[in-house]
């Protein structure tokens, strides 16, 4: 097989379409995973069993079933009795929801790592519960876990091709379609390089944050 630059040139417009979808899925999925994970983590510490138990059940269920199955379910089953969503929106929700169950564990570890004396000082000052969370506990907890959260962004990047199965053609989905149509292989190579070009600087960034935040 010979490398053909003309094939590469033909692929590039679709490649950029794919990159855009990948980055959208990654950024929006991460935001969803970060915020929803925090909600899970706090709800899992609730004193109210009626809040705690369902949240523990749901997050365990999502974490222990494959992302692929969840994507199919969201795209083909949910619209039967719920809203129909575009492939990209479904992909973002699928990735975000799935990874929120991992980030929840990360937050939980961070919250558990805040010394009990911090809670006691907040109690001694009669700080309201929400203020204790937002001003005392979470700033300390999140600072410690930013690098761990960053690792899940990289993991999510590598899982993002799965959303192609529901028609959200990100980089690899575009490459596969293109290669099948043209019987070429260059597109896969380009996409492989693109993953490294995105993931490696991201992991460098995470390491830099780790040095700055975790002392």
């Amino acid at each position: 097989m010979n490398w053909d630059w003309d094939v590469v040139a033909d692929f590039m417009p679709r490649f950029w379409d794919g990159v855009l979808v990948t980055l959208q899925a990654l950024v929006l999925g991460s935001l969803l995973a970060f915020s929803l994970g925090l909600v899970w983590a706090i709800a899992q510490r609730s004193k109210v069993k009626l809040i705690r138990w369902p949240v523990v059940g749901i997050t365990e269920f999502i974490r222990n079933t494959p992302l692929l199955v969840q994507l199919f379910f969201l795209f083909y089953v949910v619209p039967e009795w719920g809203p129909s969503m575009s492939p990209l929106v479904t992909g973002v929700i699928g990735l975000g929801l799935h990874y929120s169950t991992y980030t929840a564990e990360v937050y939980r570890a961070g919250i558990d790592g805040v010394p009990v004396g911090q809670w006691e000082a907040a109690t001694a000052l009669s700080l309201p519960r929400t203020r204790t969370w937002t001003a005392v506990i979470l700033p300390q907890a999140i600072r410690r876990v930013v690098p761990a959260l960053g690792n899940y962004v990289v993991a999510m990047l590598k899982d993002s091709p799965m959303i192609a199965v529901i028609g959200a053609f990100e980089m690899l989905g575009e490459a596969r379609a293109f290669s099948n149509e043209t019987f070429t292989f260059e597109a896969y190579t380009i996409v492989g390089i693109a993953f490294i070009v995105i993931a490696y600087p991201a992991s460098l960034l995470i390491r830099a944050m780790e040095r700055r935040l975790v002392k």
Partner: protein
Amino acid sequence: MSNDTPNPAPEDKPQTPEGKPQTPEAAPGVPEALAHVNPKVDGSELIRFDRVTKRFGDHVVLDDLEFTVASGKHVTLIGPSGSGKTTILRLLMTLLKPDEGTISVGGRYLTHEERNGKLVPAGEKHIREVRKNIGMVFQQFNLFPNMRVLRNITEAPVHVLGLSKEEAEERARELLELVGLTEHVDKYPSQLSGGQQQRVAIARALAMRPQVLLLDEVTSALDPELVAGVLDVLRDIAHTTDITMLCVTHEMNFARDISDDVLMFNEGRVIESGSPEKMFNDPDHPRTREFLSAVL
């Protein structure tokens, strides 16, 4: 459960006494400027433990404990470790709940509230209300590491007492002057020595203007050369204000210096109490004598 407090104040008397009906004038000897620190220093009962029992598993830490502290008094709790001294402070700070008995502060139950004439465990709102009168300084300082010194002190006055940022900062700066740390106002706790951190913690507790200040082995975690600075600040506060203090310490000279009363604890009970002169020079109970000869 009995509640025959000699204090005529009814259970649900407002927290900050308007003063007029009960105390016609500020207690004698309280400088005007410090009157706010503890407006009701008339020697009446401020803290009451009524048949309090606290267990950790099978271990009985406090055993049917009864004692009272009058307002404005400085009381030191001494005794061997494990005798329940710190537990008393933690119960007062509502960091622990008693298994039996009641605790009242300023004539109001801290642990319970009356609903339809029945005494029930206190709800969060009630506890919050009564607890505002109590401040605590911890062995490990427990400053908020994510906040600068100034915000450590202003955080609660702003978000609990509803002070404006400016009022709270003015109060904080006054207190930092009192503890001798004016120049460190913009530092983070990690940039301060242990002794300095503890002095910030004292300022933070005082910023809430509590009636009662709880001091839980506040010098135990400090390097020896830093202890004196912290104790000097506390001496200063003890001698110039009428804030009620409950103090657990192993610094016997400090205890002798600031205390009105010394309570000797053993196995969850007060076995002897009296003035520091009496307790340190001529205690009655053999266990007290044995303990003091070991620590002095």
